[in-house]
Symmetry: C2
Subunit: 329 residues, 2 copies
């Protein structure tokens, strides 16, 4: 089966659960909290959770509410991110706060966060032991704390003159890696995985999570505008210290460096200015460097799965990892 | 011991735990997340949690992380509330978003929310069974979902022409009652309470929680300005449909009703206009009506505790309930 088909088939199982755990009596509330879920998305995290449960020999149907949980949690972060970044559209649709105001956006995000926990606790009704449920809750909480820490670091970095590669990698491991890692680990816990299996899933998840973010940073500069759904180079305008920028700041000098610094963080930079920075980042090898890093991380993640038994689920997880590198949006 | 001393002594036990669960490596992050904790507060919720554990014959030291949890959760809601209400000060100090911006306020609130769960999970290290920990997590999650539903209802009500008393009571049961109820129920669960004891605590918590909010609404109109720490009548300016307003809208007519309607929700209403509305609400008996309701709710809450064994903790809980009615700030 093609990887896109695997994702689609796993997704289809999770979809109804996403809505089950955000059911409010009031129709107007219901509309607001389901709006960002209906916007769709890659559903990588729930898919990974279900496959991880199977990869340790478990029954993925026991992990279905948990799969919904990690996607709801991801959705909550997007709703708050969009407010913080003042983004009025996502995936071609108006964001929650664009429709109902920032005040409501904050609380709708909070409600999605709560719903994520509600979903996870529902695995109690699927014959999972209290110890394993509690361990899954603990992994989710740990991921959340890291995620918010990573988001704050990201905001700090935007205002700093320079950031080291190590600092950047720590930040994205928390901001993006933590929840992807938690998704596979929770799947593994609920699938009955032992300590060494959970360790393998952890390594896979962390590496894929970091790779996912670096790939996102690359796509922000290289994606085809018409497929991407948002403007090219928005990270440059917002002054994000991505791996590409961090590399360029350490490996360019003179006019090239001055040009990058003069446009980075310039909110109203023209397309032409952004394109000049992108050309410079290509010339300095910074984009290639990031692409290579993505490839290495994915290889390391996939290698970690070697210790797991050979199953269709394991192959699907590897295929999704490959897809993360190759995707164009 | 005087009730204020009981609260103070219980508080003192919880204080260090509040900070333990919001420890971040980065000093700047640490400063932001502890700022709203350092602002202080009545600490009613953690105090209730510890007393409830003792009231069912349990060891309240097992519930200490849970007591920190409910206060952290309360703090999270205040940080987001202040952004939504555009309040720049709370308890005489600048709010989080006033100091670090709304974007940071959102994420600091989120981090406090995550920290609340981190705290609650730490009761695992105090010899509480997995089943009871999970039940406590479940109660906290349920309260959060209700809390956010209540906050959304509150925002909807501000824009509606009229609200019934029943609708108002449902809203504040969720918005304010749910977390106070959860605090005593979680204390009872971790203290080893049985089903009937937890039922009694639930009834006590719900009634005190609703009474607490109605009393807040009364104080907004009747408190002594110099003790209150915020302007008198801010609910009138923001157009809140409190129980007092709901009562007045059903029991006044002619010039009195027209005056209330013309000033309610007028953001720039003068002190004189606000005072005229307050005088009208006194004349219509609406403030007395709310005061009486507070008294009734507290009596009903205290009665529920009759089924519990006679302990110092039970007496302290009743004394706190009485304090909720009598407080002036």
């Amino acid at each position: 089966m093609d990887v896109q088909d695997v994702i689609k088939s796993k997704c289809a199982q999770v979809e109804p659960y996403l809505r089950e755990y955000v059911s409010f009596g009031d129709r107007a509330i219901q509309e607001m909290v389901t709006h960002p879920i209906d916007a769709g998305g890659k559903r990588i995290r729930p898919c990974m959770a279900l496959l991880a449960a199977e990869a340790v020999g478990g029954d993925s149907s026991k992990a279905l509410p948990a799969a919904a949980s990690v996607e709801l949690l991801h959705t909550f972060t997007l709703v708050h991110d969009d407010i913080m970044d003042h983004d009025l559209t996502r995936r071609g649709r108006p964001t929650v706060h664009a429709l109902w105001g920032e005040e409501m956006g904050i609380i709708v995000g909070d409600a999605l966060y709560s719903s994520a926990f509600k979903a996870l606790l529902d695995v109690r009704n699927r014959g999972v032991s209290s110890e394993r449920v509690l361990e899954a809750v603990n992994v989710l909480v740990r991921a959340n704390v890291e995620l918010q820490e990573g988001q704050i670091m990201d905001m700090f970095f935007e205002k700093r003159e320079s950031v080291t590669e190590e600092e950047y990698m720590t930040m994205i491991r928390k901001k993006t890696g933590a929840l992807i890692e938690a998704s596979v680990e929770i799947g593994g816990i609920l699938g009955g995985g032992d300590k060494s299996q959970l360790g393998a899933l952890h390594t896979f998840g962390v590496n894929c999570g970091i790779a996912f973010q670096v790939k996102d940073d690359v796509l922000d500069l290289t994606a085809d505008k018409k497929d991407f759904g948002k403007p090219i180079g928005s990270d440059i305008r917002s002054g994000k210290k991505t791996l590409i920028i961090v590399h360029a700041m350490a490996h360019t000098k003179g006019e090239d460096l001055r040009e990058i610094l003069s446009i980075l963080g310039k909110k109203d930079a023209s397309d032409d200015e952004v394109n000049r920075v992108i050309a410079t980042l290509k010339k300095s090898g910074s984009i290639d460097y990031a692409e290579k890093k993505v490839e290495e991380l994915i290889q390391e993640g996939k290698r970690a799965l070697d210790t797991l038994p050979n199953t269709q689920a394991k192959e699907s997880m590897k295929a999704i990892a490959d897809y993360l590198v190759k995707r164009r949006t």
